[in-house]
């Protein structure tokens, strides 16, 4: 029952929000996009992805809709809400500050 650390958890939320912000996508596609966009560096496991998606949905940052997929099957498409857009901006800012701070330290040493 080991849980991702808070840092990773928060980061995953950010990645999901960013992915969903472009266009409504379903869970599978989110995992694929994250992998592709990170050039295969970030692999999001299902067991982390779906709990995170549902948590974001309950928080009201993303909303879901059942639509037909490209494969002509019913799939759950997630899209960003207005609150989610604000959260994304805030999270992005947070991340950049954090990443900048960390890399500054890493480079210095």
């Amino acid at each position: 029952m080991s849980k991702p650390t808070d840092l990773v958890q928060g980061t995953l939320d950010l990645l999901i929000l960013k992915t969903v912000a472009l266009e409504p996508v379903h869970g599978w596609a989110i995992a694929q996009r994250i992998r592709q966009m990170s050039s295969e560096v970030l692999q999001v496991g299902e067991s982390a992805l779906y709990p995170a998606l549902h948590k974001l949905e309950q928080r009201g940052w993303i909303e879901a809709e059942w639509k037909l997929s490209e494969a002509n099957r019913r799939a759950k498409y997630y899209s960003l809400t207005r609150a989610g857009r604000k959260a994304l901006a805030a999270e992005t800012g947070n991340w950049e500050r954090l990443a900048g701070a960390i890399s500054a330290i890493v480079r210095m040493v």
């Binding site: 869970g27 599978w28 067991s47 099957r73 799939a75």
Partner: protein, 879 residues
């Protein structure tokens, strides 16, 4: 809005949400398979790979569900079903648990109901009684005299800014109607604002005008109780405006109060209220004063303000008010009334009930623990499958809450049924009794809270045991009654210690109270009350003048002495050891130099000749009263030993002179000390006056007629009534009872407490015994395998027994030590409630400890014996 929809959906469509989740995951799986196929895997391989990848998510499903809002409601129904199933699976244990809890909850709720009704909220029918308090006069050390004068009360009413109203009342007996139809009731002279302050609205007619006062010269108005209206006036609505004779005064009835209102004097049912006459004498302190505090004002703030007003009055009116202070106290702390008598026995009962409830909880915890032993494996599996500990904890709590709820449902009717038990135990004192034994909403709320607390306390140990083990441990060994892990052994050992500790504290407390009540009942009162019948004649209700009253009493005594079967007769203005406060006055003893500000109040009674002889009170010096000690003769008094000790250094007081009522009395005799107001009082100075020279029998106590007869009180009444009507055919107002019954009023509180304590004691011993046996036996039988191994390795049965018993005794002794700490810590609270017993009473402590040790030894011996007799091979195979 959307969020609300989500929440609603979560509540009503949790099943659909689950389906959707499954569909979503299925889609993911299918995509994964396609991806695998694209990469050139065989369909078989792609399926397996996808499933393996997704496999981990089933563990997280619960986490996803928990993310849903109101998720906790979601599983509640399932938990309840699960709990009910658990209860049905073990009907024996479940019934036992419910029974034990029902006893504890029932007893606690009963006593809470008593305290709530009789002590804290004695004025049923009064609005917002939490704001009512009692204003009392205070005098420095010595006799407490709480009554207030009419004139002083006006000043308090006008000056106190912390109160919104102040009412006065003075109760007494009254007869309604005349001759054959006479009906004796208790009435009150009250201030006009009485019903306003209490917030009582008549159901018929009107209450008094705010400034209404009684003028005996004109027709009086009266408000009557619902009870009287129903019983005497047959609920006739035309009673309003009717004139009836009350104590032979014509009185016009103007209103009827609601049935639940029985007056403002805890313990006494009042039936008639008439406006009190105006009185300007500040020394005439006859009234009981009740104030209504303004919202937000505390009793102590109001009391401080009352004290400053009293200080101002004592400066302004030094003659009447010097040394007289004032305080405001909650109703249950007031000097007069049943609340005060009941407060301390009820506090004892409450404590005892709390302890019994804790013991019951410990027992239930142990039973649940034994049961949850078999659930260990199940819990292990569920945790492994992703159930969160919080979820399991909730489930366990839900189970104990279900049991506690069942127990409350069983115990509450019992408690409600016991509510009016005190009414049956009230001794006959000739006063109509009213105790508020009607359960309020607070009682039900309390029962619910106790139910929650009991569930929480008894559910805690199983939760600890189930969840503090690691999953692997639980799977490996859970469900087997094998060698205990250190953890569960510690828990069961702790339970034994807790159980023994609580039981010791409870048993010692009960023992102390029972012993002190026993001591109280065996206290010599100082007179012989056997074969003595006492009657209270309320001659004031005949509207006699004092001299008519004296003459009537003298004639009645003479006639009684001539009656067959009567060997002695006497009368006085009071009866010792009743509910009342007793009469007292300041004395000035010639030759005794009083200190400045010394409280010289001494209790007294006025008695007829023959009183001391009839009650077998030895006359130590001088003479008894004679018929010649009448108003025309020089005033005389007889004092007791304590009087002589205080004022004459123990020298013979006969011949000395004492000023009372501004009259010089000569001491003509001295009697032995006896108990006057309560059995637990210390010896106090007391003096007697001749009935003909004293205050007489008017007032609420009437004239008490004593007769030593060869028959019981019941058989004596016809004789008394015959002799009374032969003197005055119109005389009314009479109650008769055995003196021993009457003085049992002094024991009412203690008796009620001791009766219930006895029952509680039996319950506590039973629960402690059974519980201790259960815990010990359980912990020993869990060692069956260990004992088997030891025996297989060649241990002697006697050695094994010694080992088991040593552990049992060690636990019992630690428990006893813990219990002693609790008992001694509570000693300062308990000590004032005890009579002639020290809180460290060796007999109570040794008795309780011995009982618990014996139970502990038996409880470890029996299962250990059984374990040693089991064939070692079988014991090992059983696992």
């Amino acid at each position: 809005m959307e969020r609300l929809l989500l929440i609603l959906r979560a509540v009503f469509q949790s099943k659909r949400a689950d389906q959707e989740l499954d569909e979503e995951l299925q889609y993911h799986l299918d995509m994964q398979v396609q991806e695998g196929l694209k990469r050139g895997l065989t369909p078989q391989q792609a399926q397996t790979a996808a499933k393996r990848a997704l496999g981990a998510i089933t563990q997280r499903k619960e986490e996803i569900r928990e993310a849903r809002p109101l998720h906790s409601l979601d599983g509640l129904w399932a938990d309840i079903k699960y709990g009910l199933r658990g209860i049905r699976r073990n009907p024996g244990i479940s019934t036992l648990i419910v029974l034990i809890m029902a006893l504890g909850i029932g007893a606690t709720t009963t006593v809470f109901g008593w305290i709530d009704g009789m002590v804290l909220h004695p004025f049923r029918g009064a609005a917002d009684d939490g704001q009512l308090a009692v204003l009392e006069s205070v005098r420095a050390n010595g006799i407490e005299a709480p009554s207030v004068s009419y004139a002083d009360s006006r000043d308090f009413q006008d000056s106190l800014r912390s109160i919104s109203g102040l009412l006065l009342s003075e109760k007494g007996p009254a007869s309604i109607g005349e001759g054959e139809n006479a009906y004796v009731v208790w009435y009150e002279n009250v201030s006009g604002n009485y019903f306003d302050v209490l917030g009582v609205k008549p159901i018929l007619g009107r209450a008094f005008a705010r400034d209404e006062y009684g003028d005996r010269a004109k027709s009086l108005t009266a408000v009557i109780s619902y009870r009287l209206w129903k019983n005497y006036f047959h609920a006739d609505e035309s009673v309003l405006g009717c004139t009836v004779r009350i104590n032979r005064y014509p009185v016009t009835i103007i209103g009827v109060v609601p049935p639940e209102f029985c007056g403002d004097f805890p313990g006494v049912a009042l039936d008639v209220w008439v406006p009190a006459p105006l009185a300007s004498d500040r020394n005439a302190r006859r009234f009981r004063a009740i104030v209504r505090l303004k919202p937000g004002v505390s009793v102590s703030q109001a009391s401080a303000e009352a004290a400053t007003v009293a200080a101002r009055l004592s400066v302004a009116f030094p003659k009447t008010n010097e040394g007289v202070g004032a305080r405001i106290v909650p109703i249950w702390k007031a000097q007069e009334g049943a609340s005060r008598i009941l407060a301390s026995p009820m506090a004892i009962l409450g404590t005892a009930c709390g302890l019994v409830l804790l013991i019951a909880c410990a027992n239930v915890a142990n039973l649940l623990l034994a049961r949850s032993g078999s659930q260990q494996r199940e819990f292990g599996i569920r945790i492994a499958l992703g159930a969160s500990p919080a979820r399991l904890r909730r489930q366990l709590f839900c189970e104990s809450l279900l049991l506690a709820t069942l127990a409350t449902l069983a115990g509450l009717p019992l408690a409600l049924w016991f509510q009016n038990l005190p009414v049956y135990l009230v001794p006959p004192t000739g006063v109509p009794v009213y105790l508020n034994v009607y359960p309020s909403a607070r009682v039900f709320l309390f029962a619910a809270l106790v139910c929650l607390a009991a569930a929480q306390i008894s559910g805690l140990p199983p939760v600890f045991q189930s969840l503090r083990r690691s999953v692997v441990d639980a799977l490996k060994q859970g469900g087997r009654s094998d060698t205990q892990s250190g953890q569960s052994r510690r828990i069961s050992g702790l339970l034994v210690v807790a159980e023994v500790g609580l039981a010791l504290a409870a048993l010692v407390t009960l023992g102390l109270f029972l012993r002190s009540l026993n001591g109280l009942q065996n206290t010599p009162a100082g007179y012989d009350h056997r074969y003595v019948t006492v009657s209270r004649l309320f001659l004031a209700t005949n509207n006699y003048t004092p001299s008519e009253e004296r003459q009537f009493s003298r004639q009645l005594r003479e006639r009684l002495l001539e009656s067959p079967g009567v060997t002695g007769a006497a009368y006085s203005d009071s009866i010792p050891l009743g509910f009342g406060l007793g009469k007292w006055n300041d004395v000035t003893v010639e030759g005794y130099a009083a200190r400045r500000g010394e409280n010289l109040g001494v209790h007294h009674a006025s008695v007829s000749p023959g009183y001391f002889d009839l009650l077998r009170m030895p006359l130590l010096a001088g003479r008894d009263f004679k018929p010649e000690d009448n108003p025309n003769a020089p005033p005389v008094m007889i004092v007791n030993e304590s009087f002589a000790r205080r004022f004459f250094d123990g020298r013979d007081p006969v011949g000395h002179r004492v000023q009372v009522f501004a009259k010089p009395f000569t001491i003509v005799g001295m009697v032995k000390d006896s108990k006057y107001l309560s059995l637990s009082e210390a010896p106090q100075p007391y003096f007697y006056m001749s009935f003909d020279q004293g205050g007489g029998g008017s007032g609420e106590n009437g004239v008490a007629f004593y007769a030593r007869t060869d028959r019981d009180a019941h058989g004596f009444v016809p004789i008394l009534r015959r002799e009374m009507s032969s003197i005055d055919p119109n005389s009314a107002g009479l109650t008769a009872m055995a003196l021993s019954d009457y003085i049992s009023a002094a024991w009412f509180g203690p008796r009620l407490a001791s009766l219930f304590l006895g029952v509680l004691g039996v319950i506590a011993m039973l629960l402690a015994g059974v519980g201790l046996y259960g815990v010990m036996a359980n912990s020993v039988s869990q060692r069956t395998r260990e004992i088997g191994i030891r025996m297989a390795l060649g241990a002697e049965p006697s050695g094994v027994l010694r080992m088991v018993i040593r552990r049992g005794l060690l636990l019992a002794l630690s428990g006893i030590a813990a219990g002693l700490v609790i008992a001694l810590a509570a000693a300062p609270q308990i000590e004032p409630l005890l009579y002639h017993v020290s809180p460290a009473d060796p007999i109570s402590i040794a008795g309780a400890a011995l009982f618990l040790i014996v139970v502990a030894v038996i409880a470890s011996l029996i299962p250990a014996l059984r374990a040693t007799r089991v064939d070692p091979i079988r014991a090992l195979q059983e696992e």
